[in-house]
């Protein structure tokens, strides 16, 4: 399946990546599994994605990391928001 992954703010800076398009095994079914897979890219990735305040979104909605993912989804990782 194909997943788009976006990174913002501190997380984007830590992994030096704004966006990825990944071809993943269909056996990878949750955001948590995706985080673990991305963490294999190196220490910067595993540290950024294990940050205690990390927020994840699937298709522009904030979710828990147990949320399922499927072909065509857009997943995003970012720190707490500071708008307004």
């Amino acid at each position: 399946m194909t997943i788009t992954v976006k990174f913002f703010s501190l997380i984007r800076e830590a992994v030096e990546t704004e966006q990825l398009t990944l071809e993943l095994s269909d056996s990878l079914t949750t955001v948590e599994a995706l985080k673990n897979e991305l963490g294999l890219r190196g220490e910067a990735w595993s540290e950024a994605l294990s940050h205690p305040n990390l927020i994840q979104a699937v298709n522009q909605r904030v979710v828990f990391q147990e949320e399922g993912i499927k072909d065509g989804d857009e997943v995003a990782f970012f720190p707490p928001m500071t708008g307004g």
């Binding site: 703010s9 501190l10 979104a57 522009q60 970012f78 500071t82 708008g83 307004g84």
Partner: protein, 154 residues
Amino acid sequence: MLVHVTDEAIDPGDLAAGFYRRHPDAAVATFAGFVRDFNDEGNVDSLFLECYVEMATRVLTDLGTTAQERFGLRAWQIVHRFGQMETEDPIVFVATSADHRGEAFAGCEFVMDTLKTDAPFWKREHSGDEGQWVTVKAVDKDRRERWSTEGLDQ
């Protein structure tokens, strides 16, 4: 346009005038936020505001709809800037209208308090050559939480 997320300059005066013309309801409240020139550690020269545009548009639309239902608003508008800004530049504009001032004020305040912690924007303040990501302030968390603990959430 109810929600507009843009990297172009916004003019709260023009936005307010337009809202008043379109929605001359009994009570209209507006709020405008500008880039501050200070933080807890000193002067701020400029601000970079990062945005997840597609999600911000969705979150702000959901927020306005929730406010409309919860406070019985007749109309609302949310405009949020992102990108590189200088001090005193307008960042955000919120307008609400209702049959009574209490609902208009409450709706406007609810939108602002919730937007600060729920809409995907991230501030990076610059002072001289130094830049620093802004962290969530306790007061913002408290103000956001207040709308939940009052038992008024949808």
